[in-house]
Structure formats: C-alpha cells, structure tokens
C-alpha cells in the first residue's frame, strides 16, 4: 500500500481536530465528541459519566485506569499494543493501568497518511506517531493544570509519574482523582512532547495486550461474531470478475436440511442456512455453471506470453537518466536476464467472512476489515443510506496481509442481508478464499546491464510487465504517464549508483483481479533487482556484499543494515560443508532491511534455509518486540512464497484450492531467524511489510553460491537444482 495522501500532521486541520475534540471534553461524558452518529455518542455518554475524555483517543476513569481507543485494525501486527504505548508515554501513565479498545469507524480515527480510517501500507505507527503522543501530552497537561488549581501552585512546579501528579511538597493525586477537574481545563494549543531520551514506555520491548485472549480462546475474530436469528451464507462464487451464471440447481440446494434461502447476486449464488455445514452442502448441491466469456481460455501459459509481450513493449517510463545506448557502446561486458513471478494468494489463516445486518436505514457489520472508513461509504451505497448510518464493528483479523483491505466480503454480506431481510454471516470456504480472490500481480522483468572493464555498472535497463493494482483498485487511478507506482516500486527507485538508466512499465491485464499483498510491488521487485545485482557482482568477480556497498556510497542507511547483517551472520567466515550465504537489502515503507540467508541444497534439489540474519533500521522504535516478530513473520511469509507460492490458471480457473496445493512454511522448515534492530533517531518507518522483500533474493543468491544455478523465476524450481551440490 502506498499512501493515497500525505498529510502534515502539524497542519492547521490536524490542530483543529485536536482542539475540537478537546473543547467538547468540557462536557464530561462525551467520550467521543467528534462522533457523527448521535445514537452512538449518546450510548457512549451513558457509560462514560465521570470520564475524562480530552480527545477521541483516550479516556481516564476515576479508578485511575486509562483506556486508549485504537482506530487501526489488529491483524497480528501489534497495533492494539503500540497505539496505547504512544499515548501512555506522553501521558506518563502507569502501563499496568492502560487498556485498549477498538475504536468505532469514525472520521476522528482517520489514518492521517490515508485521509481515511484504514490499516495498511505499514502506516499505523508512521501516521499516529505524533497524533497519539499529542493526545497523551494534551491530557497530561490538563491533569497537571487541574492539580495546580487544586493545590494553588504554578503548573511548572508539578511533575507526573506513573499516572499521578506530584507536587513539590510531596503532594500526590492520581489521574483518576482529577478526572472531573481536568475536564474543565482548556485544551493546550501545542502540548509539549517529551524528548525521546525521556521515554519510559516507547522503545522498550513490551508484551502484547491481546495475548491472554488469544491463548484461552476468548479472542473474538470476525468469524466468531454472532447475533440471534442470523443465517450463515456460503456462496458459489464467480470464478472471475465478469463471469456470467449459466445455471445453478437452486431446488437441490433448497432440498438440503437447514437451507432457508438461495439468492443470486452479481458475485455469485449464495445459499443461506441455519449453519455453515448446511449452507456449504447447499452450495455444493447448486453445481453452478459459469460462462467465462473471453477468459474461458485463460491459462498460465497465456499469462506468461502476455507478460513477455508487455515487457517487450514497456513504454511508460518510470526513470530515465543519462544515455543507455551510448553507455552500452562503451561497456566491456553486457548482461541480459529475464525474471518472473506468479500470481500469489494471501491465504490468511481466517477465511474471509463478514456478519452484516441491514435494518431499515441502518447497516451494522461485524468484520475483520482493514478498511473501516471506506466500508462505510461502500456499504452505504449498497443499502442506499448515508455512510454515517453504517456501523462497523472492527473485529480481530486472523491475518490480513492486504487482502482484508478489499471490500468484496463485506459488500456481499451486506447485499445478502438487505435482500434476505435477515442478519447474514457470509463465510468463504478456504477454496473460495483462494480461487476467486484478489492476487499479488504476476510480473516479469527484462534486464539489461553493461559493466566497464573494472566491473562497475555503466547502465541498467529494466522493462517490467504486469497488471496494474492502481488501475484495478477502485479507489486509485493510473497516472497519466501510465506508470503504476506499485509495479515499479523498489526498482525504479533502487539505491545503486548507476549513471545511465531506463526503467519502464508495460501494463498487461490477463484477467485475475490484482491487489495489495504484503509489501506489494517490493515483494517481486526486490527479488528482481537484488538477484540481478548479484549477477553483476558475479560478472565483476566481486564479493556480493562489497559490490553492493561500493555502489551505495550515498545511502548510509542501506550500507549500515548490510554491514550489520553481514557482521552478525559471519559473512565471509567458514560455514558447515555445503552451506552458503546469500545477501539482499531493500528499503520499503520507510524502513531498511538487509538479510543474510544460510542455505544448503540437497541432492534432490531441495533447498534448506538454516538461518536468516536480519538487520533493520526502522527509525525510532515503539515496541521492539513487535518489530522483531514482524520481521520474523515477514520472512516466513516471503519464504513460503519463494519456496512454494504460485496461483496458476487453466481454462479460466485457478488451479489451487487449499493448503495441499498451495503449501506454506511449516514448523519443521522454519529457519533460525535473528533480528537486529539498529539504533536510530530518524522518524519511524513501517514494520509490517519491510521484512518480506529481501528474503527471496537472499535465499536465491545463497543457492547460486551453493550450486552455480541462478534462479530467475519463483517459486524455486527444485528440478533445476538436482545434483548441483556435493
């Protein structure tokens, strides 16, 4: 995900928001003063008497507890812990008294980097680093002012510590004791923020607040939502967007015990039943037949041919510098290579689902969704009501990875509730989730490079082909120059010093809907450029690490993570027989990650990844434990894709359906992963995605070192590696 809007959070609009929120807090009880839905605001007020709510983000109650409202959605990336940490730090709260609640969908919780309430693009910390700290600092200043008034002292004489205001003569009042007086204080125009050196919570490894509920089964995911009288829907989904239903045996579905309704909507035929099993049996009985139109012959061979053709015609220029033709004439060595990757499914552990209830002019959904804000608008359109009447209950997500940014499952559930008149919980089967979904684009690049006599690169040409996420997203547009920024990210802005370059994009649309997949374009482009740079190093007879470093003179943060990962991994030192190192680096979402993979290849061609050492510079940190875990997880996600991941097509349909033909990494294949976080005073970077891009090239570069085989296609084809090592 790339930010749709960049927003200066110190902007007047932003300040107005804080002020408006604070001003309303003079009325004790309006916990969420900017709520646009009176009914909800009233409900909040009833439960919130004696509550100090200086802004939309936090409440303090007389029992001295702090509750932080998190507008971002939790999909494992730890926002339900990191967001409260930011507010608690500036509030000087006792962390053991801090809790978190999922905020409702409301403009007050818009992600400033998106201009809407949505979770993606590794933006949560970057977007909320200042607003949440300001929220905490404003509340603290008001609590101090309240104590100063009570003690008849100058606020400057007071300090705060662990949810208490302390006076110079040993006076002490808990925040809880000050809630009513604090609510009468003016909201500070510019709350003073701490210097990072004074941080007590931010920057320290902190346990997740949501762990206990995830260990005893009580955590509520979207699929766990339930209301009386709801029906469960399972759909025969159109295999491709635009497919037309030819036939479906509705009578057979209705004959299944427990089936209550069969409804055809644009995306397929839904069977509504008393429970999942009856709905699925009914769905299977439909035996739905589809007319795939001009996509009936879609195959992976066709996709590959289209990609090749697209690269040959790549005309949307993302980067042009110097003169590549002139440089080619001077080169003493020329290299050409073509790399490609397939479509990929997200394969979240929790199959997509949504419970929707359309009642008169109100829509309520319970869903694990990354796009609560946009859902209000989209579902409002479906129900023909104003977005403000769409209530979104954000549930925990059993994985998101970008897939839950799409509105398809919440749209279908809403439509089915509207048409049936019942609350409807739509559940995708695993096969539905995988076969009729949204995919990481298949992509292909044709590289050309020229080296001088010393092995230094004189030129780089890259012609990239693939479908456009921007054009197909429904909320972005392909810019006039025709370059999909996501198709070339990480490639058109690679950091290596090469004077003559041309990087161009050729849009190809084979048919399957494409979408954001953890690290988006970086997921394939880091594999492309970091493998090809390795090829250049080999051609130059140079060490892959040293070759990179000398081309990165102007990029100290890239250099630092490369050097740290190499040092921690023991780059250049002796490894067990048959083991080799590969290295790769990538900057994405504002963070820098280098990885060294230690790999061996068996006689049957199976690669074994023994160890991965990652070095990360993500600027200032909030929760280092989360950073470490996100990098580990991103490596597992990228490694699953590198080793196994492919969505292929035959006769217009996806060939994979479940984890037997779309395998993912299991515990026995888990390498030892070490994550080293570099100290930094820079602005925070994203952390959910940046660990994924380097892993595929690091592993493939190690395989090259072990076997001499350059892998230019993912997933790794073990047949190419048979008997290539000792």
């Amino acid at each position: 995900m790339t930010a749709a809007h960049s927003t200066d959070i110190t902007s007047p609009a932003r300040r107005r928001l804080l002020q408006a929120g604070g001003a309303s807090a003079l009325l004790i009880g309006f916990a969420l003063p900017r709520l646009q839905r009176p009914a909800v605001a009233q409900a909040q007020a009833q439960t919130a008497s004696n509550t100090f709510a200086p802004n939309a983000w936090l409440r303090i109650t007389p029992d001295n507890r702090v509750t932080v409202l998190c507008g971002s959605a939790e999909m494992g990336q730890g926002v339900l812990t990191a967001i409260p940490m930011l507010a608690a730090e500036e509030l000087d709260a006792d962390w053991s008294l801090v809790g978190v609640e999922q905020a409702p969908a409301d403009a007050a919780y818009n992600n400033p980097m998106f201009g809407m309430q949505a979770t993606g693009g590794s933006t949560t910390i970057r977007a909320h680093w200042l607003p949440l700290r300001q929220a905490g600092a404003a509340a603290r200043a008001m609590l101090v002012a309240a104590a100063a008034e009570q003690w008849k002292l100058d606020p400057a004489q007071l300090r705060t510590e662990r949810s208490h205001v302390l006076g110079p003569a040993g006076q002490k009042l808990s925040y809880g004791a000050l809630v009513e007086a604090a609510a009468r204080q003016p909201v500070p125009e510019k709350p003073v923020l701490k210097s990072p050196k004074d941080f007590k919570i931010v920057g320290r490894p902190t346990r997740r607040l949501d762990t206990p509920a995830k260990v005893d089964g009580s955590a509520q995911f979207g699929i766990d939502a339930r209301i009386d009288g709801m029906l469960v829907a399972v759909m025969a989904r159109a295999p491709l967007a635009g497919a037309k239903l030819k036939s479906a045996n509705e009578a057979a579905a209705r004959a299944v015990k427990g089936v209550r309704n069969v409804i055809t909507i644009p995306s397929g035929v839904a069977v509504l039943a008393e429970g999942y099993w009856a709905a699925k049996k009914g769905r299977d009985a439909l035996d739905a037949q589809w007319d795939l139109g001009d996509k009936a012959a879609l195959s992976s061979e066709q996709v590959a041919a289209l990609l090749k053709e697209g690269a040959g015609k790549a005309g949307a220029v993302a980067l042009e510098s110097g003169n590549t033709a002139e440089a080619a004439a001077r080169a003493s060595q020329q290299l050409r290579a073509s790399y490609s990757v397939p479509y990929l499914a997200h394969a979240c552990m929790e199959p997509l689902n949504c419970l929707a209830w359309v009642r008169g002019d109100e829509v309520t959904i319970w869903a694990g969704t990354q796009s609560q804000g946009p859902a209000q608008g989209i579902l409002g359109q479906i129900a023909q009501i104003t977005p403000a009447k769409v209530k979104v209950n954000t549930m925990l997500m059993g994985g998101g990875f970008g897939r839950r940014f799409a509105p398809d499952f919440s749209m279908d559930a809403t439509l089915l509730s509207k048409l049936s008149g019942s609350p409807v919980k739509l559940i995708y089967t695993r096969e539905d989730d995988m076969a009729a979904g949204f995919y990481r684009p298949a992509a292909l690049v044709q590289f050309e490079a020229g080296l001088d006599a010393a092995g230094q690169p004189l030129l780089l040409r890259a012609d990239v082909a693939g479908p456009s996420i921007m054009a197909g997203s429904g909320f972005m547009k392909l810019p006039e120059n025709g370059v999909d920024a996501m198709a070339v990210e990480g490639l058109a802005d690679h950091p290596y010093a090469i004077a003559n370059q041309r990087i161009a994009y050729g849009r190809v649309e084979p048919g399957p809907q494409v979408w954001f997949w953890r690290s988006v374009g970086h997921s394939q482009n880091a594999f492309f450029i970091e493998s090809f740079i390795d090829e250049l190093a080999h051609a130059a007879k140079a060490d892959p690490l040293q070759y990179r470093l000398q081309l990165l003179a102007k990029h100290p943060r890239h250099r630092a993570v490369l050097e740290a990962a190499a040092a921690k991994a023991g780059w250049g030192k002796r490894l067990p027989a048959g083991h080799k190192h590969g290295i790769a680096v990538a900057e994405s979402f504002g963070s820098y990650v280098a990885q060294v993979a230690e790999v061996s290849v068996g006689k049957d061609g199976t690669p074994k990844v023994h160890r991965v050492v990652a070095a990360v510079d993500c600027g200032q940190t909030v929760n280092p434990q989360t950073i470490t875990r996100q990098i580990e997880g991103a490596i597992v996600y990228g490694l699953s894709a590198a080793l196994y991941g492919k969505i292929t097509h035959k006769d217009g349909r996806v060939e994979q359906g479940n984890f037997h033909d779309y395998p993912v990494l299991r515990i026995g294949e888990m390498p030892k992963v070490e994550v080293h976080i570099l100290p930094s005073g820079e602005a925070p970077g994203g952390i959910g995605e940046p660990g994924t891009p380097p892993i595929a090239p690091a592993v493939c570069n190690a395989i090259f070192a072990a076997t001499g085989v350059r892998l230019r296609q993912l997933p790794i084809d073990t047949a190419l590696l048979v008997k290539k090592t000792g």
């Binding site: 494992g76 762990t211 260990v215 979240c348």
Partner: protein, 157 residues
C-alpha cells in the same frame, strides 16, 4: 438425530446430522468459538481439539465419531495441569501475533506434552507439523513448548 457429547466435562445433547463435522457443532451449537475454521480438510490444524486426549481435526471429524467420547477444546484445556502450563508458557513468551491459529497450536502442544514430557525439536516438528501459522510464530511456539516442558518437569509432573 439426537447426539450426546461431553465437552470440557459437560454433557450436551444436539439434534444434528451425525455426518456433520464436530467443528460446527462446537462453534455454532455450543458457541465454543475458540476452535477455529481454517481449511475444512485437516490441512492447517486451526480446529484441533482433543478426543479422549488425542488431538484430532474437528473440521474433519464427524459428530458420530465424537459421540460418547470426552472432547476438550481450548476453552477447557486449562483445567489440566499440562494445559495450564502450556497456556502460561504461551503468555510468558507472548507467542501470538494474529492469534487465529493459536488455539489449535496450543491443543497440539498439550497433546504432545501429555504423551512426551521432554520433547526434542524433532518431536516438536513431528507433532506440530500439522499446524500452520501464517504469521510465522514458529520460533516462539517451539520456545513455549520447551518452556512448558521445563515447568511440568520441575513440578515433578
């Protein structure tokens, strides 16, 4: 058809199709939603429960096979010493990310530790190989199993 189940020590009578999976009876009839749906084909382990102490995939276990047996789910596993130790280790090591697979992981880990007090890494690979985690918490899962094992052995279990 009427089916008798014993879940977490409590008797329950369901009017259900004996061929339907145990998973949906637990989730929809008994509202024990800690047991998760992941694949429907016994491929991912998210729905792991114990049937007379043995780990089974509830998505592929027909109700008829569960009738009359003792069923333990994530909501009830803490009643046993092993379950308590495993859940405590999961909290201590702060294992979960998204958390969706963790009920199944914990149920598989408890069954492993009940059968083998000091599992090796190879034992863990074997016993936990049927449980997928897309967030990649495998290192923490392994660490938590070793930790729970140490706790159980220290207590002279």
């Amino acid at each position: 058809m009427s089916i008798q189940l014993t879940v977490n020590g409590k008797a329950a009578t369901l009017d259900a199709d004996p061929d339907s999976p145990l998973l949906w009876a637990l989730r929809e009839e008994l509202q024990l939603t800690g047991t998760k749906f992941g694949c429907g084909m016994a491929l991912c382990g998210a729905c792991t429960v114990h049937l007379d102490g043995q780990p089974v995939r509830a998505c592929s276990t027909p109700l008829s096979a569960a009738a009359g047996k003792k069923i333990t789910t994530i909501e009830g596993v803490g009643a046993s010493k092993t379950g308590r130790a495993v859940q405590a280790a999961w909290i201590k090591i702060d294992v979960p990310q998204c958390g969706y697979c963790q009920s199944g992981q914990i149920m598989s880990a408890c069954a492993l530790l009940a059968a083998k007090k000091k599992p090796s890494d190879a034992d863990i690979d074997q016993a936990m190989g049927g449980n997928i985690c897309r967030c990649g918490t495998y290192q923490q899962i392994r660490g938590a199993i070793h930790d729970a094992s140490a706790q159980l052995n220290r207590k002279g279990g």
